[in-house]
Amino acid sequence: MNEHATTSSTTIEETASDWLQRQRFFDWDAAAQAELDAWLAQSLAHKLAYWRLEAAWDRTERLKVLRAAEKLAPKVVPRHVNRWIFAVGAAAALAAVVTIVRTQALPRSVVTQTYATTAGGHKTITLTDGSQIELNTNTVLRIATDNPRNVWLDKGEAYFQIRHNDANPFVVIAAGHRVTDLGTAFLLRSTNSRVSLSLIEGRARIDSINPDMQPHSAVLSPGQVAVATANSLSTSTKPAVELDNELGWRRGIVIFHHTTLDAAVAEFNRYGNEKLAVSDETVGALMLNGTFPTHDTQAFIRVAQQVLHLKVQKDGSRLVLSR
């Protein structure tokens, strides 16, 4: 008969876990260590149970990455809040709003200034270090008050031209991801759960930070585009022309190059003009090229009528393009 069978594994495991927590979390001295050593020496079963728990606990070291995410957002000491509000009062010309937010990705409270554009809006923010952030239409961006190089893109699209600083990296949080500048100009677009990063120059790194997600990351070089969701990250390369087209909005234009009418209409609709729609799939699949002012729906409609020979009908608040 097996002599070990009488020893309850549950009891041994409980004792082992009690030793381990004492050693890791409470005062620990030579006397305590001697006691533990004596217990371990009593049987191999004690050692195995202890080693097993210790190995598991040491592997949970990885949980500390959660703390690394928290560090980005410094704790708010309540007495500072009034001072921040005062500071922003002085900077009222920026039309900034002070909010104390709790974000999903960053559990700590942080004081931020919010910058927003409505549909059709376009705004440029210049930071004290000369870095520039340009907001495209319908965009919300927050900047940490105590460190303007910590930024959240809550929705919409922004172009970042960043003065690189190794000591204080520029970090954007968007849709559960962190984008870190490594000497960079980049374009970032965030929808509910999807973030798209296009690298124009320099380098940038994207990491998932939401602990519920599969961890993933990538470092991008110019011309590369990363699209990340909760559980996927894909990168691809885009021709410089195409990237340049994506940035047309910075000059107030949208550029279509072999673009389907569906995609073109969706792009135009972002800018808050009269809403356009297509009547059916075949119309939506038509291709077009062209450059249009973002605010000039009429110019777009004229091309649809004269080049694509489409009809335009008003349907409630929408303008429907059909054959």
């Binding site: 020893t7 876990s17 979390f25 409470f26 195995l48 080693w51 949980l63 959660l66 703390r67």
Partner: protein
């Protein structure tokens, strides 16, 4: 020649096989209450033998040992529980192949840890997070939560046991945690 490091060998070679071992034991032994005892006895036999001479094929050795232990248990039981072992002859010994669970565990570890934490009772989870993520001492945790230090100890110990079961044990253990 350096002395054989049983602890390092056990952690490196045997613990990563725990999920497979637990699955094997659960599949071949009906009484769930015996499983952790069986696991302990398999580990003991394997490590006692390894201390004499480390087996060349740890995975094969582990499963052969598990199989022999189950057979011994059935033979020595006063009343042989016929249904206890589903089919002793059919007990297949897993081969020493590159184990897919090792890489899967590494890839999903953060998610698994999160899932493991989520299964703990709320207060236990909170204490483990404070200790592991925020790096507070037992005394600091007790002070912050306004509870006795021995309560913190209990939560930490329970959390450590649960995390070991998740990390090494079968994923189905997820549903059986405190």
């Amino acid at each position: 020649m350096t002395a054989f490091d049983l602890k390092a060998w056990f952690i490196r070679e045997i613990l990563p096989l725990e999920a497979a071992l637990m699955q094997y034991l659960q599949h071949n032994w009906r009484n769930v209450a015996d499983i952790t005892d069986l696991r302990q006895d398999v580990y003991l036999r394997v490590c006692e033998a390894a201390a004499q001479e480390p087996p060349r094929h740890p995975r094969q050795f582990l499963f052969t040992t598990a199989r022999n232990l189950l057979i011994d248990r059935v033979r020595h039981a006063q009343i042989i529980p016929i249904e206890a072992v589903s089919d002793l002859e059919a007990l297949e010994v897993a081969k020493d192949e590159p184990s897919p669970e090792r890489s899967a565990i590494a890839r999903d570890e953060l998610r698994r840890l999160q899932a493991a934490l989520d299964r703990l009772l709320e207060r236990c989870r909170e204490v483990v997070m404070m200790g592991r993520v925020e790096g507070l001492s037992g005394r600091e945790i007790a002070a912050r939560l306004g509870v006795a230090e021995c309560t913190v100890s209990e939560h930490l110990a329970k959390g450590m046991r649960a995390l070991a079961n998740i990390l090494f044990g079968h994923p189905s253990d997820l549903t059986k945690l405190p």
